[in-house]
Amino acid sequence: MGMKKMNIKRMLTITKKEFIHLKRDKASLAIAIMMPIMMLILFGFAVTSDVKNVKLVVFDGDKTKESRALIEKFANSNYFKVSDIVNNYDKVEEYIDRGDAKVGLVIPDGFARDVRRKEMPKVQILVDGSDPAIARTAAAYSMIIANNYSMTINGIKSNQPFKLGFIDARARVLYNPMLESAKFNVPGIIGLILQNITVILTAFAMVREKERGTIEQLIMTPVTSLELIIGKLIPYVLIGFLDFLFVLALGYLIFDVAVRGSLLLLIFFGLVFLISALAMGMLISTIAKTQLQAMQAAFAILLPSILLSGFIFPRESMPKIIYYIGNLFPITYFLEILRGIILKGIGIDLLYKNMLSLFALTFIIVLITMHKFKKTLD
């Protein structure tokens, strides 16, 4: 099979056949249509570090108007849900031990007195640290609520609220002021969906011809390898691209994640990334002999790419070696680009480093794939 010539009609014949396969292959169709929706909803809703309705147990040792007002603040905050008010300190610990509450609020006797005397009122907050993500956020939220409370009280009672020794160190959160996980996750999911669907479907489509022996028939025909490859890839480029737009639209409709930057730029990078994903899929197909092997190989690439790309875990806190392995996945850079364009609305001027890395990696992967593909044909 020569690499040189390209006949569009023959290529489209391959494309047409591929569409018939897709139409009759329920599994591939499900991957193409259902996977984006499922992943978006799963990751958008479930993978969240947002703190909402965390169960709170309260011991009010003061039982005054002021203490009840503080409890009220917690209850009304949306972050916490008061599950019970107990009458001694040990009960609070017991609740947390049993897992009936994640956070305990202990208001000691003399709380109201301290408030009135403008002395620093003390409350204790117990946090279940077994889930560090929730613990950290919950602890931070309770501090904020408590501080706000004392500031309002003292603000009403005195005109010098800062005398109490508060440090007004409010962090200003950029781009995602509500710190919603979905805002952060959705752009990542778009990249992940584009990668997973394209890699899996491409690898399958190529290996299928090998597994069923039809490739042996094809190489005896005038079809060139270029016609075969491009012809076979066209359906998956279309699917990958449509899924990309589809998830972008769903992200906006469900999670209110709008593209702040240039949509055109986003689509351009989407296409570049698509090429690298197609090449990865083809690379797998040159190694795998059966669809089962292709599936295993796909997971061997996709799983680390999810973990190491910064999709869920921040790359900055990874050990150096792991961090560098993450550099080998195109999605690592694509995620930065996605988040950059969608959340921050920035352009090439700030994204050029990621862009160059993505280009270089795509180029290398395409090169390796072409080399391997030529070898397997011989």
Binding site: K17, R24, M220, T221
Partner: protein
């Protein structure tokens, strides 16, 4: 004489391994050439070179008058290939399979429709046009695969163990079809392990350990070896060349089994 296949000193090496060693033969047009040899002897590699799929390490050849290396695209356009796997797309219908190969060979629409009718008739697949290829039984699959290989009216038909795993009735029907095609002027290159199939070939070539051992008409082979049993000739060659006792004949095996049974009684 015009040859359908004419190869000279054809050699193919994969690294240090010589898969095909200095093969030369000429096959006239309109003949059936039976290419015999044990598995792994170099048959498939030779076929792939003849079909213009892989380039020989050295040597030259012409297929249908086209150069093996320089005109492989013209060779591919004029040969039909069918293997034991009947490489059909099982999730495509009978008609879709024919359509696919028809457009791969770029047959004009109108001509393709006519050709499809002929081939469906020939393969006895009438009424099954819309059945998925995967639902057909072995014999039908085989004839559909042959139909796909013939869609572009090739002048050379390459059949790589076309009847492996097919029932005896379908096997005969298949050969009946092939001999009809050859009568119409097609040349056929066939590999097979069935010696009854080999016996109806016009020319038999025997390849062993990458080398062509003999190439002759069956009649001449019978004369030379004093037997009309091709299988015995085949085994004799392997015995001689490998310097080991292959296996005794089936008659001997049967006799020895009967002997065993008698011993037991």
């Amino acid at each position: 004489m015009e040859y359908a296949i004419s190869i000279k000193n054809l050699t193919k090496k994969f690294g240090h391994f010589t898969a095909v060693d200095n093969l030369s033969f000429d096959i006239p047009k309109g003949k059936i050439f039976g290419f015999l040899g044990p598995n792994g002897s170099g048959k498939s590699t030779t076929i792939r070179m003849i079909c213009g799929v892989i380039t020989p390490t050295s040597g030259s050849g012409k297929v249908l008058g086209y150069d093996l290396v320089k005109e492989s695209d013209k060779i591919k356009q004029n040969i039909g290939y069918m293997s034991q796997k009947f490489s059909l797309y099982e999730d495509l219908t009978v008609e879709e399979n024919l359509d696919f190969y028809g457009s791969i060979y770029q047959i004009p629409r109108k001509e393709l429709e006519e050709r499809k009718k002929e081939l469906i008739e020939m393969a006895g697949l009438k009424g099954k046009e819309n059945s998925l290829a995967g639902t057909l039984s072995g014999g039908w699959k085989q004839r559909l695969a042959l139909g796909c290989a013939l869609i572009h009216r090739p002048k050379l038909l390459v059949l790589d163990e076309p009847t492996a795993g097919v029932d005896p009735v379908s096997r005969r029907e298949f050969w009946h079809l092939v001999s009809r095609l050859v009568k119409e002027g097609i040349t056929a290159l066939v590999t097979t392990h069935y010696m009854d199939e080999a016996s109806i070939c016009d020319i038999i070539g025997f390849i062993y350990n990458s080398k062509l051992i003999t190439i002759d008409t069956p009649e001449n082979l019978y004369k030379t070896h004093g037997t009309e049993n091709l299988e015995d000739i085949f085994i004799k060659y392997v015995k001689e060349l490998s310097n080991k006792d292959v296996v005794s004949s089936f008659k001997e095996i049967k006799a020895s089994r009967n002997g065993d049974e008698k011993d037991e009684h």
